[in-house]
């Protein structure tokens, strides 16, 4: 869509978007590096404290992303908060449904639980983002 004077973003939107990127971008980079190093170096699967800490390393940047999301919500204006709440509700519902499906499949002995959890996480994020985009677009 062309960025005509009528459809240009407001200054407060530009300010909010820049702040959101500033908050979240370093966490995304750290998350990719942590996840990548986990895959590349492949922890040996033992239950040692070192192995446990190494495996849970991506939780730190993920928690950082949660903090960035909370800050972004605090900066949002009133309509953006409503839209975000509705999009999160849709994403949450998708995660609940997929978790239920994963549990049922595991009970039936079908599929790999680890893969099901990864699919649930990724699909939940995608549904949330898609709902957010759709609802913001509908708002104008």
């Amino acid at each position: 869509m062309p960025n005509t004077p009528e459809r240009r973003k407001s200054q407060s939107d530009v300010r909010r978007e820049r702040a959101a990127v500033r908050d979240a971008a370093p966490a995304v980079v750290v998350l990719i590096v942590a996840q990548g190093s986990l895959l590349a170096l492949d922890p040996d699967g033992g239950a040692s404290a070192r192995n446990l800490a190494w495996s849970l390393l991506p939780l730190l940047p993920a928690a950082w992303l949660v903090w960035a999301q909370v800050r972004s919500l605090r900066r949002a204006d009133e309509l953006q908060r409503i839209v975000q709440l509705e999009a999160m509700a849709v994403g949450f519902g998708a995660v609940m449904l997929l978790l239920l499906a994963a549990g049922l499949l595991e009970g039936a002995g079908v599929g790999d639980p680890r893969q099901s959890l990864q699919i649930t996480f990724i699909a939940g994020v995608l549904v949330w983002v898609a709902a957010l985009g759709f609802k913001m677009r509908r708002a104008g």
Binding site: K9, S10, S12, D13, E78, L79
Partner: protein, 68 residues
Amino acid sequence: MRNRLRELRAARRWSQADLADRLDVSRQTVNAIETGRHDPSLPLAFKIAEVFDDRIESLFFPTDTDPA
């Protein structure tokens, strides 16, 4: 709730983004208020009234379909 935002904005030759800048909200929020898809909070309604130098009750009008 109905409102006169579009009419007053047009009279001043402001774009939705211009009004959004003055209200410190997103352009989508201005659009949603103008089209009646979003009723502003009381603080935002006061801010809108201040920007247009008018009273809230002359900017916003209740309709039969408004929630109680």
